[in-house]
């Protein structure tokens, strides 16, 4: 590991991201815009909005960073820059940590803006610290990022990479508990839901937005999220191969 290589990679990825102003605008503005639309959609059911909006603040960056990373990694592969990096002595972990810092920072900006809109402008009540919701949001973004990095290895075109979002992310979103209580699902589906990392992101956010003490289960959720991120990271590292056929 080298701090210099990690920071240089983070700076390089951020520079690339910032040069693409339109993407930055979309990352920062779109989640908040969606939440405002949702607010008006639930105009006559404010209680429902108050229940789901805070969890959405933390779930949306998972989706955004999954897509952004899978495309960014695919570009790195197809442009030959990954092969150049792999021919150098730079450690894979430095590259991935650099990516995590850069996209983590982008996700933080996204979550903070969404949190200001939801809790400040729309005045949604929060039962626990808003900062904790933002922190779980950034964690979920990092999880989305490492999963995106891993699955990008299976895409050979950008069309495929984009399709991985509905294939890998939407099912997790549908069964995480946001739309339907997991206990009311078919048993086998509930079993699958328990095996999906996004379920624990949802649970952690749900506990943060529900009254009562957080309890040990909240920390268990965080532990599972971190564990899932580390597993994805190791799998991602395996896909970054020094030698290719």
């Amino acid at each position: 590991m080298s701090a210099r290589a990690t920071l240089a990679t983070a700076q390089r990825v951020l520079r690339q991201l910032l040069r693409d102003r339109r993407t930055v605008g979309l990352i920062v503005v779109v989640p908040s815009l969606l939440l405002v639309i949702l607010n008006f959609a639930f105009d006559s059911q404010p209680a429902t909005f108050d229940r789901i909006a805070p969890t959405m603040v933390g779930l949306i960056p998972f989706i955004t960073m999954f897509i952004v990373t899978s495309i960014a990694m695919l570009r790195e592969r197809t442009s030959g820059t990954l092969e150049r990096l792999m021919s150098m002595s730079v450690a894979k972990l430095d590259l991935m940590a650099g990516y995590a810092i850069a996209f983590g920072a982008a996700a933080a900006a996204e979550v903070v803006v969404a949190a200001v809109v939801v809790f400040g402008v729309l005045d949604t009540p929060a039962d626990h610290s808003v900062i904790a919701i933002v922190a779980v949001g950034v964690l979920s973004a990092v999880l989305g990022m490492v999963m995106g990095l891993f699955v990008s290895a299976f895409a050979t075109t950008e069309f495929q990479a984009v399709q991985f979002m509905p294939a890998f992310v939407l099912p997790q979103l549908l069964i995480c508990g946001l739309f339907v209580d997991r206990s009311r699902m078919a048993d086998w589906l509930e079993g699958i839901a328990w095996a999906m990392p996004l379920t624990y992101v949802y649970d952690a956010l749900d506990r943060l937005t529900s009254p009562g003490s957080l309890g040990g289960l909240f920390w268990l959720d965080l532990g599972v999220i971190v564990g899932a991120a580390l597993v994805s990271l190791s799998l991602g590292a395996v896909t970054l191969r020094r030698r290719t056929p």
Binding site: R15, Q16, G80, R84, M86, S87, P245
Partner: protein, 246 residues
């Protein structure tokens, strides 16, 4: 003196290298050495295994059999990777960053001082484009950025895959002058090309055909042994001779 900086140790030593790609035997059984400070031209028709050999030397190719020693250590070893520069045929740099930003990044990964960035830009003569986004440059200029990105690491061995493709004759001449001055500093260069008249710029030539080395000589030596007037003709005679044998 670190391992491999000793001029007595060859820059590259390949013994019985065998590489299979996608079910096709690209290099059946190749052995060769490259001395330090040498400028070696790797020539042959496309599909002859030039790129596969280069990828094997820099340690990005899965090798099926054989031994590759680069600068005194096994090819692909961590320490060797830091001392080898590899420039692929298509420019492998970030199109959305400027020339300077690309070189700053690759320089930082090599822990190179910022003076190396200026030196690399000068070496490829891109001073006036330093602040330009790489994607807005011409193909030839992008190729030179890619070369500069390898130069910032001050490699002891530079492996260049068709670096002069698509360049005008003046630029080609300048680039070869750069290669020569690098060799003067003790850098070993392996340069692939399918332009035969470039072979005269090299100290020695490796001619590959179907993954086999059919000649390894100086340009003059090749002309003498084949009795040909120019290298193009020498290669044709070698290939015909090879055909007679098989």
């Amino acid at each position: 003196m670190a391992t491999g900086t000793d001029p007595g140790i060859p820059a590259v030593s390949v013994v019985d290298l065998r590489v299979i790609r996608g079910g096709t035997v690209v290099l059946p059984d190749l052995s060769l050495t490259v001395d330090r400070g040498e400028v070696v031209g790797l020539l042959g028709p496309s599909g002859s295994g030039k790129t596969t050999l280069m990828r094997s030397i820099v340690g990005v190719q899965q090798v099926d059999a054989g031994t590759l020693t680069v600068l005194g250590s096994p090819a692909g070893d961590h320490d060797v990777r830091a001392r080898v520069g590899y420039v692929t045929q298509s420019a492998s740099v970030y199109n959305d960053l400027t020339v300077i930003e690309n070189l700053q990044y690759f320089g930082a990964l090599h822990a190179a001082p910022s003076s190396e960035i200026d030196r690399a830009i000068d070496a490829v003569d891109l001073g006036e484009f330093a602040g330009r986004v790489v994607g807005s440059l011409s193909g030839g200029q992008r190729g030179r950025v890619s070369l500069a990105a390898a130069l910032v690491g001050r490699p002891d061995l530079l492996v260049l895959d068709e670096p002069t493709v698509g360049l005008d004759p003046v630029l080609r001449r300048d680039l070869w002058a750069t290669f020569r001055s690098l060799a003067g500093e003790g850098v070993t260069l392996i340069v692939s090309s399918h332009v035969m008249d470039e072979a005269d710029e090299c100290d020695s030539i490796i001619l590959l055909r179907d993954g086999k080395m059919i000649a390894r000589d100086t340009p003059q030596g090749l002309r003498d042994s084949t009795g040909a007037a120019d290298l193009e003709d020498a290669f044709l005679r070698l290939i015909e001779r090879e055909g007679d044998l098989t």
